[in-house]
Amino acid sequence: MFRLAIKSIKHSPKRLILTAVAVALGVSLVAATQIFTNSLSSGFSNLFSESYSSIDIVVEPDPNSDVLFAADEQPLSDADLTAVSATEGVADAYGVILTQGSLVAPDAGASQPGPPTFVQNWNGNADIDTGAIAVGTAPTQPGDVVLDSETFDGGYALGDTVGIAGADGLSEYTLVGSVELTSGTSLGAKFAWMSTDDAQEFNGVEGYSTIDVIADEGADVDDVTAAIGEELPEGTRAITGEEKAAESVDALNSVLQYVDIFAIAFALISLFVGAYIIVNTFRIIVTQRTREFGLLRAVGVTGQQVRRMILLEALVVGVIASTIGLVMGYLLALAITAIATVFVGDIFGVLTLPPDAIAWAYGLGLIVTMASAIAPAIHASRISPMEALRESATESKKPLRTRNIVGAAMSVVAIGLIFLGLYGDFDRPYIYVGVGAVLLVLGITLLAAQLLVPIAYGLRGVLTRLFKVDGKLAANNIRREPRRSANTAAALMIGVMLLALVATFTESLKTVVTAQFDATSADYFAIDTAGTGIPDGAIELITNTDGVADVARIGVGPVQYDGADSTIAVIDVDASKDLMSFETDPDITEVGDGTYVSQSIQDQGVEVGDTVTLTGGGGTVDVEVTGYFNDEQGGEFNVDWTTGEEVLRDVVVSQLLISTDPGTDVEALQTTLSDELATDYPTVLLQSPGQLAQFANQFIDLLLGVISALLGSALVIAILGVANTLLLSVTERTREIGLLRAVGLRRRSVWRMVTLESMVMAIFGAILGMLLGLGLGSALVLALADFGFDGVTVPWIWLGVYTVLAAIAGVLAAVWPAWRASKLDILKAIATE
């Protein structure tokens, strides 16, 4: 049987090529991600262990502690540094200040800040400073600064005045040198070093973020770590460099794991689409070989052996396709790392083939191929020996009734599940929605065959009028094998469905966002681009500018609530009343100051009038709950400014809402304010609501773009599926096409016939997909009404684009089959056997 299977594949490998390509594409996606993340992980693991190799002990805030530090305090003080230095076994202890700022480019006048700049104090130890001076001198004098050599080489010279904007506004320094990073790459970020005093002043806080310790030669690091631990203030810890490196790698790996899962999800979509093609291919092959199987059965081969033979063929195809996929994945990962290296430097380990990648590639590839071949194999095993004697090898026309009933039942159950998931009150609603969506796709695939019959009837008239015989024949071909056409169209349907779903969601989201910005009566928003908060000076500047009426601050900060990490948003309630649209119960504009909790806290049983305990940088504070808020302003708690300062001590202002006096030229004032801010506070960006809405919409579009790109492979596979089905159909119809050619059909007409057939299938699949995607997307949007969605926006433009793309895809998919069909040798086609 195995030899027969191999021979059969060898005999006509062409019909399996596209099937194998489809599987390989899906597999390569998984393999590439696995290989890529594995290499990234090993690269970073090297980097981490290198950077901690010579640091024996790290003293830092304890991530497991309940103690929170306020924004205006550092976890470690000079006294702590002294205590650590004095500990037995400590050779050297360095207080490290690491903070963020924004380097103002030498020629940039406007407030267009670049990537974040990491500001660190200079310790004079290459291991602690993560680099050594390459040019010039170390920044030991007040007012000195050095930059990483990559940034330095980007247009700086010794003696330049360098501006760095931080939490307290812009500070200026003299550039005295450059630093070559030990790791060789800055990963796209910028680094600046200055004296410890300058760093503390820049940060606005005394003390250190961490203390790096080098132990005495021969001392037991674990003992020293324990000894240091006893000296430390609450909320900090000492950990060996080795453990710290391992912890960092673990943290990175858990992030990369999500990348893997994400990629596997998209690969599964691709393979699901691929499965459709495999089912279709094997079905057609079995039909074409009906007489062969009949003959085998007649000479004594059992049905079971026939089944095994088909599955063996599938196995061989699966192995070959998975191997190709693995190789493609490796090359893809190689390409991605090569490109990434250009931008962020060589952060990758040696590109290996991790066992995970091999397991996933072969596992998925084989399972999908074999599972898809089961139904056709069973079908083949039921072929009677009588078939060998039959004149023509056409499939007996089974009625579609069973298929319709099953399809309808699946669709009904699926819709039920989706609604249960969206509107029901279950723990993991996405499981219901997910299972429902898969069932719906399968159900609609089954129903699509029935749907195609009347559509093909209708199209026949239209296509005949437009394209004469070519159109009529194309419509007939689609109708002739409704199952095959439906399965082919359905493969494309899946991809388009997901695209339409995401587009419906993002367009609706854009409507909500735009409406929110439209609703605000604020004339400008000020946002902080460096992540350090809007400096007080900037707020003062804005408030004191002529024409500015009200300025409302919004701050955020971390707190501990009920033993878990949480965030609070701090609001100027009075100033915000007219600028923000609060949806609270009771109404915040009437009640005023207080503490408002989110839906999730409310779900924990917290009611108005209850007391909740919040722990922040300012200490532990009991506050009374004033009301609930319904919209998402960020954080679980919304508190007034007084409460916020009590809990957090220092509130980092992340956003300002600004209104102007009546009669002010809003645009002119924005220009004036922006210019003033650019000088001293370049990290503060002033935007009109319209600009912010546009910015948010661009971001949402980017999201749509990324997801569309990720769905690309599923779409390519679906198009391959259309090509594959057509190719097999053309082979099946060799004699028919030969006859048409003999009676005078031109090559061009044959080409057009196949192309029309392809386009109809593609557009049919796309339309089904768009209907499904629109439906599911709408259901999703409506289910998320709590998050501010107040209606579905139909992404008409995108739907139009998808239809046009589907038509183009149809034309492309038809190229190979149409070429084959039009080049058919008439004599061979009409030759009597």
Binding site: N476, E736, L739, G744, L827
Partner: protein
């Protein structure tokens, strides 16, 4: 549709050679064949298998190309034409009836019959269509798909299709080969009527003496050469001739 007749010849071949394969594998299927097919005549081509009779039909009909020599359909020398032009000639001047698989399974009998007209984008001659259908007895079968027709009916639909565009010449390749003797006789009778009543030119390849006896003229082919010719044949005369040839 029908080219204006300038001569009485519907098709000709001069010194036709056809080789398959190259080098040592080469097989000469036609070896210097010259033949004239007169208008309104029913010509049969006979010969043992491998004699080149199908090749002669295919090259005459423009389905295949001669390696050397010249052939023409109603004064159009098709050996000089491009593939697209030959297709055009086939469409406008030639009708075909094959042994089997004559019909497009997805089209009804009527659509199959009008296929050449539809392909050419011409208007159907209603009177002519009805006349053919009447003679061939297909009037109540027009809406059926080929799968719903008997073998004899299918071949009659094929003949109707060949006749409908009034081609210069019809080429038939063992048209009765798959039929029982009654249906076969019926079909050949129709073809004969088409020649007698409408002046249709038909060239038929067959190895069946009875079928050949319906023709006005028989060409005997052996090893790619025309070796004999017979006028007004009967089944007995044909059988005798074939026995002489050693079959």
């Amino acid at each position: 549709m029908t080219a204006t007749p300038t001569t009485s010849l519907a098709a000709t071949m001069r010194d036709g050679y056809k080789d398959y394969g190259t080098g040592e594998m080469a097989v000469r299927a036609l070896d210097g064949v010259s033949v004239d097919i007169a208008r309104s005549e029913f010509t049969a081509i006979m010969g043992p298998s491998g004699s080149g009779k199908s090749t002669l039909l295919h090259t005459l009909a423009g389905l295949d190309r001669l390696t050397a020599g010249e052939s023409s359909i109603s004064d159009i020398v098709i050996t000089q034409l491009s593939e697209a032009q030959v297709t055009e000639v086939r469409r406008n001047n030639i009708g075909f009836v094959f042994q089997s698989f004559n019909l497009i399974p997805s089209l009804t009998a009527r659509e199959n019959i009008t296929l050449p007209i539809d392909i050419a984008g011409d208007k159907e001659d209603k009177q002519w269509f009805d006349e053919i259908i009447g003679i061939l007895g297909l009037a109540d079968r027009l809406t059926h798909l080929p799968a719903e027709l008997s073998g004899g009916q299918q071949q009659r639909v094929a003949v109707a299709r060949a006749l409908v565009s009034r081609p210069e010449i019809i080429f038939a390749d063992e048209p009765s080969g798959n039929l029982d003797s009654r249906s076969g006789a019926e079909l050949l009778g129709f073809m004969r009527r088409a020649v007698k009543e409408f002046g249709q030119t038909i060239v038929m390849v067959t190895h069946d003496p009875t079928a050949a006896s319906y023709a006005d003229r028989i060409l005997f082919l052996e090893d790619g050469k025309i070796v004999d010719e017979m006028r007004d044949p009967t089944a007995e005369k044909v059988l005798d001739r074939m026995k002489q040839m050693g079959h």
